[in-house]
């Protein structure tokens, strides 16, 4: 039974296959409108989410399937002390596929080990968020037409930003890419990402605290917010939250074909005026996320023999 816990569970060949499927869904939505009729997706969201949960639900509905949901630990048996393992076994009895978000790192892995249906990690604490990376990859593909020879700037909270870690992991598998890591000192990329991914694979990277000085080099700028829920105290949050605010003025030296991405939600790290710039891709990214989740649901249900 194949599940998606970490973006690296997918080979580059499988990523190509998902992107091709998403492109076909975009081109021929009617072809997919009934493909999951009679199938049910469980969305187990033990942590707040707007985009990811709605994106999964919209994806399943557009494939003709149904959705059953748990939102918040307080409204589920988790409040009574049920383990993640038992929840996985129970929910498997009702559904064909599970998407889970949980504040604890590794919760999706435990779910996958115990469920009898495919499991998709919709975010496990500060650890992984592979379907956001799928949205990021489709956006990069559609904007740049390649995954190679790109200078990728990631900016903001690089310590707790799970989307950043997944994106670095994913893009490190392609030739000729270079990373520019832009963050305050306190929110630098963890050493295991630098050592185990970038240094081990010999991928060039630079670390800086200055966004504007590196702007002209970038093909992709991946902005992130400082996450209040991950920073340990309010004082640190208030000090760090405005570290980087992307404005129209700061983009004056950027490449004309720069692609600006953001996993959203945005707080104030991208000025609303930037939304009108053709290089702003973050709302396209939201839509791309739905298409990639559709492609992923199809792939996992097919592999589980639940659809043809």
């Amino acid at each position: 039974m194949k599940s998606l816990i970490d973006i690296l569970d997918l080979t580059t060949g499988e990523l190509d296959e998902l992107i091709a499927c998403a492109e076909d869904i975009i081109a021929n939505p009617d072809k997919y409108a009934e493909i999951c009729r009679g199938k049910k997706l469980a969305t187990l969201f033990f942590e707040p989410s707007t985009r990811t949960r709605m994106s999964f639900e919209a994806a399943m509905y557009e494939l003709g399937g149904n959705v059953i949901s748990v939102t918040g630990a307080a409204s589920s048996s988790a409040a009574k002390g049920e383990s993640v393992a038992d929840t996985a076994k129970t929910v498997s009895c009702y559904t064909d596929i599970i998407a889970i978000r949980h504040p604890k790192e590794g919760a999706a892995y435990v779910t996958a080990k115990n469920a009898s249906v495919p499991v998709i990690n919709a975010g496990d604490g500060g650890h992984c968020h592979p379907t956001q990376t799928l949205a990021d990859l489709l956006t990069i593909w559609r904007e740049k037409g390649r995954f190679t020879n790109l200078t990728i700037g990631v900016c903001g909270d690089l310590k707790f930003g799970r989307t950043v870690h997944s994106l670095i992991n994913a893009m490190s598998r392609y030739e000729g890419n270079r990373f520019v890591l832009i963050s305050p000192e306190e929110l630098k990329v963890p050493s295991y990402v630098k050592k185990d991914v970038l240094q081990q694979k010999g991928i060039p990277y630079v670390q800086t605290t200055d966004l504007e000085s590196v702007m002209p080099e970038l093909d992709i700028l991946y902005m992130t917010r400082v996450q209040r829920e991950r920073v340990f105290n309010e004082e640190d949050y208030l000090r760090l939250k405005d570290s980087y605010i992307l404005t129209v003025d700061k983009l004056k030296d950027a490449k004309q074909d720069l692609a600006i991405l953001h996993p959203l939600p945005r707080v104030n790290e991208i000025s609303v005026a930037v939304d009108d710039d053709p290089r702003a891709c973050y709302f396209k990214q939201v839509l791309n996320g739905k298409y990639m989740r559709m492609a992923l649901i199809l792939k996992l249900l097919k592999e589980a023999g639940k659809i043809k």
Partner: protein, 138 residues
């Protein structure tokens, strides 16, 4: 300093000096009823200094624990006063319930029944990571 030789038991030799107590704790040797000797800072021609543990009972010891703490150690099994097996230790690929994940955000911090599993991710630098949250063991 002399420690009596053992008739039936286990001698863990070539332990890097200073690791003896860590091995004693992780192997749970404090819970045994038999005689256990830890000899620290023994002069060694190869190692300069080493620790040795002698267990006066033929009990199974976890090679995974020894491999994790000190892959250079050797295990000697003694029966009837004769060395019957001398085993070099290797780093295990996986550690199950040997050490606990210290990341407070890891699922193992709140799910009591889950095995604490660490996998060897970098043999050269002896790095083990939690399979759930990827936190490095230390």
């Amino acid at each position: 300093m002399n420690i009596d030789s053992i008739n039936n038991g286990v001698v863990i030799d070539h332990i890097t000096a200073g690791n003896g107590m860590k091995l004693y704790d992780l192997l749970g040797l404090g819970e045994l009823d038999c005689s256990v000797a830890i000899i620290k800072n023994v002069v060694s021609r190869k190692m300069g200094k080493k620790d040795i543990i002698k267990i006066d009972a033929d009990i199974p010891v976890s090679f995974d624990v020894i491999g994790f703490v000190d892959p250079g150690a050797t295990v000697n099994i003694i029966r009837g006063g004769v060395l019957v097996e001398k085993r070099a230790i290797e780093m295990p690929d996986e550690l199950v319930n040997v050490i606990r994940c210290k990341n407070p955000r890891c699922i193992t911090s709140c799910e009591q029944e889950i095995d604490h599993i660490f996998r060897l991710t970098d043999r050269e630098h002896k790095v083990y990571r939690c399979i759930y949250c990827e936190t490095k063991a230390n």
